[in-house]
Symmetry: C2
Subunit: 193 residues, 2 copies
């Protein structure tokens, strides 16, 4: 149960087996059905969740009422609204499962206690956020400078598992285009190759 998350953690910074056990004690296992909302706009985000099995999306709802997907998360990823969670203030985001999903979650209070018990984990989580920041920055750049087609190709290469598991319209949303456009892009790619 904890094997993957332990690997995930120690890939960021060294943590002893004992310290990992303390972490385990602060995590709660949670199983949720497909299409469950884990966070709603306006709520304070009460969790950071590590995905053992399943798939989750994080999204805004824009003025026209359409979903704008910021992130997919699958096995071995963390999902949360960092801004809302860390400042314990209302979120603008929704987080929702796309499949039946098994999570390890930690709430704000337990995370704070955990950091007091295992200060070394501050470092782990710092490094995790740094990496996320870096990824988001590249994605931001790509969104501004690359065409939709190139972003799609990049997405398929980077996350082939997700392409299989998630409806096209949601991938379109993630890429910042309409489902119709994505359909046309795929058609052109087929024709060309």
């Amino acid at each position: 149960m904890f094997r993957e998350i332990d690997k995930h953690i120690t890939r960021c910074a060294p943590v002893s087996g004992y310290e990992l056990e303390i972490l385990h004690g602060r995590l709660k296992s949670k199983t949720v059905k497909k299409k469950t909302l884990l966070l709603r706009q306006g709520e304070v985000c009460r969790f950071e969740a590590y995905i053992i099995k399943g798939c989750v999306k994080k999204y805004y709802i824009d003025q026209q009422g359409d979903q704008v997907i910021l992130q997919f998360a699958v096995e071995d990823w963390w999902i949360s609204d960092i801004g809302s969670f860390s400042e314990q203030k209302p979120s603008n985001l929704f987080i929702e499962t796309l499949e039946d999903t098994e999570l390890l979650v930690i709430d704000f209070e337990n995370k704070e206690i955990l950091f007091r018990e295992v200060p070394r984990l501050e470092r782990v989580f710092r490094i995790m956020v740094q990496r996320s920041y870096s990824v988001l920055e590249s994605r931001f750049y790509a969104a501004i400078t690359h065409t939709a087609e190139s972003r799609y190709l990049d997405f398929v290469k980077r996350y082939p598992q997700i392409v299989q598991r998630v409806p096209q319209q949601q991938i379109a949303s993630y890429l910042g285009i309409t489902p119709e456009s994505l359909s046309r892009i795929k058609k052109q790619l087929m024709a060309r190759k």
Copy 2:
């Protein structure tokens, strides 16, 4: 000299006066002329810098050879390529001063030593990155869903000081549009109000 940075730090998490002094000892003061490149594509980013006075931009150069500005930083901000710095791997970015600038910089080795001396700073830097992440996420969302006009208005409201100090073409680049488009947007706004 350290007054502002100390405030900046303690706004993230409590740090004692003694601990701040240790931090000061690890920082190096640096003054650089306008148009100095602090980081070039391909180099490893060797610093995190706090801006005492001045203005800096961080940008990509895209396939067509154009600058794409990801971030401006002015007084009381930090600037670095987090990805390159924290993994000490080659950067894709440029960082360049837009004015004569006074910085407090720390390199990778000193930051690591500092964290060993003052573990509490891990927390400070974690919180700083979390906040940056959150800001970047909103900006990403805005880039995808809002029009250029609305992003410009938002920028002017949020960073009025920067609008005064930075050429329009660079603001256009930051907004992900061409200078011509920004000029047109401004014209329309004038006409309308």
